[in-house]
Amino acid sequence: MANNPSSAVSTAGSNAGDDTIARLLMRNAAEFANDIAMREKDRGIWREVTWAAYAEEVLCCAAGFMALGVTPGDAVIILGDNRVRLYTGMTAMSMLRAHAMPAYPGATLDELKHFFEEARVVAALAEDQEQVDKILDLRDAGTSVASIVYDEVRGLNLYDAPGLLSWESMLEAGAKKLAAEPDLRRRLIEDSKPDDPAVFMHSSGTTGKPKGIVLSQKNVLSGARNAHAGGAFDYGEEILGYLPMAWVGDFALTVAAAIAFRFTVNVPERQETVQRDMREVAPSLYLAAPRSWDHMLTTIQVGMENSTALKKWLYHFFMDKAVEAERRKLSGSGKGTFDWLGRWVGEKIVFGPIKDQFGLTRLKRAFTGGEAIGEDTFIFYRALGIKLRQLYGQTENSAFNAIQTPGEVKLHTVGKPLPGVEVKIAEDGEILMKADSVFKGYYKNEAASAEALQDGWLRSGDAGYLEEDGHLVVLGRVSEVVFTKSGERYVPNYLENRLKFSPYIKDAAVIGAGRDELTAMICIDAEAVGHWAEVNGVPYVSYADLSQRPEVADLVRDAFERVNKAVTKGLQLHRFVSLHKEFDPDDGEITRTRKLRRKVVEERYNQVIEALYSGTSEVHVKAVVTYETGETGTVERTLLIREV
């Protein structure tokens, strides 16, 4: 592992100055009153909200929650899928100097309960009946949340719970309050300061309980400015507000950057319609997790396979050539020979139409983040004419650490640190950062804060190094660096990601700490493998059945062989088990952002792991599964151990 100790990269960062979310919002409303701030599809039609109207709604909402008794320092839970009103509520909290606390819509009661133990949650803003029910359950369980404001009235007509009120009546109360107190409007705009909270996020909780992370307005606005200075986006981008609201990436783009740089945020109708809505919107900036890009790639390929012979031939003719050209470019062997004519014709008859199908026609800034992306996927989009770039960020640094530039891309790096973000590498190989966008410490958790922040440097928790030209390489979590019995050092996550580059592997857990050799447990991708089985006439009755088919094992083995070729001998994977069920956040095996909870997995599949090293050829397992209703059942299976 090449280490480049203590080399610092620093550029003069832009200063967020005295700006606050409220002031920037009002500036947009004054100077760009009739530009579109938000678009939301409702009853099949995109309804537009101008900056002037949006600012007014945020003000009324702030006054409305004030009337409900929300005071500075209080917390308000924001629960639901992306909705304009929920974004409005989040933005309004920053005017009240209160904590907007977004939660994943799929969060269980236990997960939500933790929020209440942490901060003074006085109100909730919920999307619909489902989410209101959760808050009411929590209230029954003894938490004190005085008011619950809901967006969608559906099914709530007959509820008779104290403090339950509709968005409309909250807004009306706010408007009344604004009219009655002439000075209130000015106070809402001027009172909040850059050091006041913008949002209350949570660490993903791969180890233990999620920690509270309060990002100040200065943090998030600096983050957005740094990203802008680094070429991530420009003024007036067209974006899709579809990422989970509880994820920092969504807040950083759809609230902070959107207000600071006047984006138009398009909120899809429902989670299920995102693809179609995206086609209608054709965003200019799009950030998605690697698995979403993978998924889109699979959809394109499956679609082409089911197409007519002529279309298929045209697709392969142009696509294969373009992919080859990109591959050569990436490996540095000169310019691709896919000349401009091929590119031009291909764009007209193949690339353009495909991009149109997926709403990628106007896409200028395509990002992927969260984890590494596979080479095949990366090259495919480049060949299609989409300059996909990696973005490296974390919640503690308001989502923006480093990005790749469109021109110079090296797949194994995440690009250069952004202007305004200082990076250095600690003795033990950990990436350290200093920036205005770095938070002040975990909420009411001195011990964890002291550990994360040392002399003004944020310990990212990631192991990595800086290359000669300033590009940052991220290897994986420092806490995950482990050693085999022979002392070989490795990051399981690094290997797992490379396994997951195969479209057939959805999740993987590499085992080997303190062992002689490395092995892995994988979960096949039901959709991709299912489709493959269908095309190739492999019969199966269920996920569990499919996972154990010998043909599928061969498919998976290919991925292992590819990884083994790319790593040193000591880190090669020797055996694997294809598990009978996917990892599920409800079972605690992965987080809601689909990060592996190693401890839980290693405990739960202890029996399988032992079998991987005991020399047997199969293992009988009994697993407890949790259904959506909260009931549990057991599944029994015999899993086969495969050699690579």
Binding site: R43, R154, N157, L158, R270, T273
Partner: protein, 267 residues
């Protein structure tokens, strides 16, 4: 949940059938059936295959006018009225064997349910921008509201041919609801559905009553559904009424048990 309004409070029942009889040649499909459906009620109609449930429905909606008996809709005699006129009187139905238009999108299929509220014509259509278009927009708005109500947004533009049966049934319900009926007749809306889809459908029926104020005549095989959501019910066998009343009591009735389980053989 709103309970049923008891009869005899002076309000006209939504639907009243008196001594209905319908024969096909020599075969008596239904005979002597009385039925009274109050406003806001979900009324179950059960019976084994061939017991006359669908025939009774067809008699009400005018497909097969009864040879004997009277059908009153909101107190008005509609016996023998043609089906399209019955639809205009605020009755909408779904079909046991689905009657969607293949080759058309979900949206277009649902829009068809608005036909009774549309007023097309040569002149109106020729002056599309001034006359037909505003009407189209207004109707689309109603349709979108129902699409939202039944959560069909994600398949709005799909062809109905390609969607699963559970969703097809939901599209049919949507098409019936956009007609803004007072009385909704659902002919086995849960046939061929799994437990989850059944629960969804039951929820939608209850919500349709609570939020849209429809009264429902529900023909159903699944006893659990009838017991779960109906206020009152009527059981038929060989075209005759064998029991009526509150579901829990009706299913205890020995004649109903016999018709359903056939326990009386050889006794």
């Amino acid at each position: 949940m709103k309970g049923p309004e008891t009869s005899g409070d002076g309000q006209e029942p939504v639907l009243e059938c008196l001594g209905i009889e319908r024969r096909f040649g020599g075969l008596v499909a239904v005979s002597g059936v009385d039925l009274r459906l109050e406003k806001g009620e979900i009324f179950g109609l059960v019976g084994p295959n061939g017991s006359g449930k669908t025939t009774l429905t067809n008699a009400i909606t005018g497909f097969y006018p009864p040879q004997e008996g009277k059908i009153l809709l909101g107190g008005k005699d509609i016996t023998g009225t043609a089906p399209h006129k019955v639809a205009g009187l605020g009755v909408a139905r779904t079909f046991q064997n689905l009657a969607l238009f293949n080759g058309m999108s979900v949206l277009d299929n649902i829009l068809l349910g608005r036909h009774i509220h549309m007023n097309p014509g040569v002149i109106r259509t020729a002056l599309y921008w001034w006359m037909a278009r505003p009407e189209e927009i207004a109707n689309r708005d109603v349709v979108e509201e129902v699409i939202d109500f039944l959560q069909l947004e994600s398949i709005r533009h799909e062809l109905v041919d390609g969607i699963p049966i559970g969703l097809k049934k939901r599209v049919e319900l949507a098409r019936a609801l956009v007609a803004e009926p007072h009385l909704l007749i659902l002919d086995e809306p849960m046939a061929g559905m799994n437990q989850e889809e059944k629960e969804y459908m039951a929820r939608f029926i209850l919500d349709a009553r609570a939020e849209r104020g429809v009264s429902v005549l529900l023909i159903e095989h699944h006893m659990d559904v009838i017991i779960g959501i109906c206020d009152r019910m009527l059981a038929l066998n060989y075209g005759e009424m064998i029991a009526s009343g509150i579901p829990r009591e009706v299913i205890q009735n020995p004649r109903v048990i016999e018709a359903y389980i056939g326990g009386a053989h050889g006794e």
